[in-house]
Symmetry: C2
């Protein structure tokens, strides 16, 4: 395949990067907790940073579809990492919280996640990262308007 200008290849390159990163994460996570996926790990971390979210709030934070969240949480609940309680004020909602097992998993995951980021971003300067962040935000904005 021939790529003439960076314009024609950038978005393709973003896909390449995210896949490479996810593969790295999956590999390192599997070494400490084999039954947690990358997405499930991310959800645990997000829940940890916020106390008790509804599924919609959670979905928006991790850029996932509500249907996906329902299914992912089901698996996580079956494995005992989280629990769901129906909100007493609004019975449509369920608030998602982390179990003791989930907290233990987070403790194991945290250093891995730090390592993954460090590995992925090795040799990249702070201004470079800020620039990357900025450009990506612009693209996201362009796509959602």
């Amino acid at each position: 395949m021939t790529f003439d200008t960076p314009t024609s290849t950038i978005l393709y390159t973003i896909e390449e990067t995210i896949k490479a990163y996810r593969k790295l994460c999956a590999k390192n996570i599997a070494e400490v907790i084999p039954d947690i996926t990358v997405d499930q790990g991310l959800i645990l971390i997000i829940l940890h940073k916020n106390n008790s979210l509804t599924q919609m709030e959670l979905a928006n934070l991790v850029f996932k579809d509500y249907a996906s969240i329902t299914r992912i949480l089901k698996l996580m609940e079956d494995k005992g990492y989280i629990s769901k309680k129906i909100d007493t004020k609004d019975k449509r909602r369920s608030s998602v919280t982390i179990t003791a097992k989930g907290e233990k998993a987070i403790a194991q995951l945290t250093p891995i996640i730090v390592l993954n980021r460090k590995t992925a971003l090795q040799g990249i300067t702070e201004p470079e990262l800020i620039q990357l962040f900025d450009t990506l935000k612009k693209i996201t904005q362009n796509c959602t308007n």
Copy 2:
């Protein structure tokens, strides 16, 4: 959720961007050809730029797993967009080519893809893109070593 430094959020932002972009693509593609997915469209374009690829070659070009390629091609073949022929020199291989219907679809897709890219990259300068490309390549490299 709290993000302190860009370092802790960049890879999360990449996910956000790629999802926003794929959503835009899906929407615009569906308007001209409802039964082609973003991935199937990409595969058609890649096949168009190269004449007759094996599945492994194709998989590597689109950063997909061989198993995924098998299944995606099956659907595309069922819908008549591509055809697979077993390689006479090496009967393990199959060479994938585009049908007339596939070529017609490409003609319809091409302007959409151009539009999608233009939309996504609106207001982003050439040096900015080159920088983005460069940083992403570094990250990919870091993740695959």
